[in-house]
């Protein structure tokens, strides 16, 4: 039951003075006014979320924080002009690509548009790759529902997609005897969320399983279903699988507006032309509220929770067997679990993430304070230390104030489906969300068109060849087929030249150095590109028939080099 506006006014005034104005448009609650900091704005949003409305629209202004606009690709043409699609998916993250793949099972014309030069560039690549067990989600939420379902779907899906999947399990260490006493409560929660298995581990069991664990543990709660995948490889593979089954995928394509008539989206305006779509899916991650607004359906606001993680040298992974963290009792009430040690599918130890409310939707700046926050996790394993860090990165989670996913048709726009607020455990939940969304689309589509499942739908995508994971015999055979499989260009991760070439000519070809990196792991090792960058530039230029000066790191205006001495004096500088 929604609380009355009067009651809300009095609660909010008590907390924030008369600074805020509250209204209840539609079934949402809207906050206006101004507060001093972004943190305060977010807290006000959280408070408002408790009053039982569908969602919070937070229009509080904060000094020095400007509302951001989507930075549209400078690329312009009209390849989409006058084209019609049955379904248009906005956003090429793990959610958009998962949905595209699900829908590609049906005889529908699907388009996915992504504003960046590659899929999975933002939140889908800037996370720890964990397929959560589902324990942490609050029972009864969409998060809890989709997480456990998604966890079950990922292993066979990864196999179909031809990507790696590991299930090391997750160990929550008890930091004191009181935490240990909470075990029955934890087990109860795991049961309510229908998590696939949980175990109590004694102190001794923990030591046997994790020999280098901190001495400050009092046993642990083990969740064997926790798994890991490479989130960017997964997103690329999902996109490629959808494309193999006929979905159209357009990168460097940005939605600039909708034409709406009679509460229906009639046209989509993009930098690549104006097209039409019968059904539109908003899977636009950190921009989902902006896209909703463009559709005149702004019933929720997102806030942006930044997380920094660091990656340790491959060597470190021999000292850690499971995903491991030591949540404090206080964290039970927090919005996130507080991070810990994760083992990546590719064999690195990853530490993090942090959680900090920050207004930048795509601002991935790291700071020394992030490192200080990550420090505590290193104490969980006596062999791990800060000097094993080879890199660190930052991601932004799109969060609603209800801190739950929004998955479902719009109340106001007849042909729009929102998939928004997909923060952690979004990666884990993606296949389950996609299955549900596909059902919604099919149901809707059946009202105006004949649709049938494709008889020739291809579930399997051929796995990329990763030579370092093959036996010597298998590598030898491959090299005989193509000698460039025997030319190692990235010494740290043992990536061959042919693997880079493959990435540049795959179903969804890499067009930037970062895209090559996500697909092949060049530059991801301990030298971090010191040795292989020059060779990659050379190969990219050669394969894409472009000048070495035009090789970019990540999309427009990110050229790696500014001049080419092979040009004549007058145009040496590119």
């Amino acid at each position: 039951m929604a609380t009355s506006l009067e009651k809300i006014q009095s609660v909010m005034t008590k907390k924030y003075g008369s600074a805020l104005e509250i209204s209840t448009p539609g079934s949402s609650i809207r906050l206006e006014g101004s507060l001093d900091t972004y943190q305060m704005k977010v807290e006000a949003g959280w408070t408002a979320a408790r009053f039982g409305y569908k969602a919070v629209i937070n229009d509080i202004t904060v000094p020095d924080v400007q509302e951001e606009t989507i930075a549209c690709s400078s690329y312009v043409d009209n390849v989409l002009e006058r084209l019609h699609f049955d379904v248009a998916i906005i956003g090429g993250g793990v959610i958009g690509t998962s949905i595209a793949r699900e829908l590609s099972k049906w005889n529908m014309k699907i388009i996915l548009i992504e504003k960046e030069e590659d899929v999975g560039v933002h939140t889908s690549s800037r996370n720890d790759g964990m397929i959560h067990d589902g324990f942490a989600a609050k029972p009864g939420t969409l998060k809890a529902l989709y997480n456990v379902r998604g966890n079950r779907l990922w292993e066979p899906l990864a196999s179909d997609l031809g990507i790696g999947f590991k299930r090391p399990g997750s160990l929550l260490l008890f930091s004191n005897p009181a935490m240990k006493a909470l075990y029955p409560l934890m087990a109860d929660r795991a049961k309510r969320n229908e998590v696939d298995g949980w175990e109590f581990w004694s102190r001794e069991r923990v030591i046997a399983e994790e020999p280098y664990v901190t001495s400050k543990q009092h046993g642990g709660f083990f969740l064997p279903s926790a798994a890991v995948i490479s989130p960017y490889k997964a997103t690329v593979a999902l996109a490629e699988s959808a494309m193999l089954n006929g979905a159209k995928l357009m990168t460097s394509t940005c939605l600039t507006g909708f034409e709406i008539e009679h509460n229906t989206i009639r046209r989509l305006h993009t930098n690549r032309g104006i097209c039409t779509a019968s059904i539109v899916i908003n899977a636009s991650g950190n921009w989902a509220d902006i896209i909703a607004e463009m559709a005149h359906d702004r019933f929720f606001s997102l806030h942006h929770r930044r997380g920094t993680e660091c990656i340790l040298d491959m060597e470190s992974s021999r000292w850690q067997q499971h995903i491991m963290s030591m949540p404090s009792i206080l964290q039970v009430r927090e919005k996130t679990k507080g991070g810990g040690i994760v083992l990546t599918e590719e064999g690195n130890v990853l530490i993090g993430p942090t959680a900090e409310e920050h207004p930048g939707r795509e601002q991935y700046t790291t700071s020394p304070s992030d490192m200080i926050k990550l420090k505590k996790h290193f104490t969980l394993n006596s062999k791990l230390s800060m000097d094993q860090i080879i890199t660190y990165f930052c991601g932004v989670r799109p969060c609603t104030y209800e801190e739950d996913f929004i998955v479902g048709p719009s109340d106001n726009i007849s042909n729009l489906i929102h998939v928004a607020g997909i923060q952690s455990p979004g990666l884990a939940s993606a296949p389950a969300i996609a299955a549900d969304v596909a059902e919604m689309v099919i149901a809707k589509a059946k009202t105006f068109m004949e649709i049938q499942p494709k008889a020739n739908w291809i579930p399997k995508r051929t796995a990329d060849i990763i030579t370092r994971r093959l036996s010597l015999e298998a590598r030898d055979e491959l090299i005989r087929l193509d000698p460039s499989y025997g030319k190692i260009i990235c010494r740290c991760e043992q990536v061959s030249e042919k693997e880079v070439v493959n990435a540049l000519h795959s179903t969804l070809p890499a067009t930037s150095l970062d895209a090559v990196k996500r697909r092949t792991r060049v530059q991801m090792g301990r030298c971090h590109g010191g040795f292989c960058t020059a060779r990659c530039i050379d190969i990219i230029a050669r394969e894409l028939h472009i000048d070495a000066c035009d090789v970019v790191k990540k999309g427009p205006d990110s050229q790696i080099c500014k001049g080419n001495m092979s040009h004549d004096e007058t145009n040496r500088i590119c």
């Binding site: 001495m565 092979s566 040009h567 004096e569 040496r572």
Partner: protein
């Protein structure tokens, strides 16, 4: 204007630390142990010279770089001009180490020579 600095004499391995101060153009040199040190310091200030090393393009494929150097040190203030000259050069391969690339660079009585042997095939491989 006062300009002060300390240099290490590189004439002999002794490596004397020489202090140089310029007060309104007046040069004071201190700390050298022989007259060559004094001369060296004066030259460093008034007329610095050094070896110029760079690369030139091969004529059939401008992407191929051939490392080159001047046969002797040249005045630092001629380097810009020298680079303009050297950059315009295109060399036919193969080229042998020591081969003269530019004769009498800027009339300085200095040649530019190749510092590696490069053939069209080996520029990224070694000579076989």
């Amino acid at each position: 204007m006062i300009k002060e600095r300390c240099i290490t004499c590189i004439i002999c391995p002794k490596g004397c630390r020489i202090s140089i101060s310029q007060i309104d153009g007046e040069l004071t040199i201190d700390g050298y142990q022989c007259s060559r040190g004094n001369d060296y310091a004066r030259q460093v200030v008034e007329f610095p010279v050094q070896m110029l090393t760079t690369t030139v393009s091969a004529s059939h494929d401008h992407h191929i770089r051939i490392p080159v150097k001047t046969t002797r040190e040249i005045p630092v203030n001629t380097i810009k001009e020298a680079m303009r000259k050297i950059r315009a050069v295109r060399i036919a391969l193969p080229v042998r180490i020591g081969e003269v690339i530019v004769e009498n660079l800027l009339d300085l009585d200095v040649d530019v020579i190749a510092t590696d042997s490069v053939t069209p095939h080996n520029w990224r491989n070694h000579e076989s």
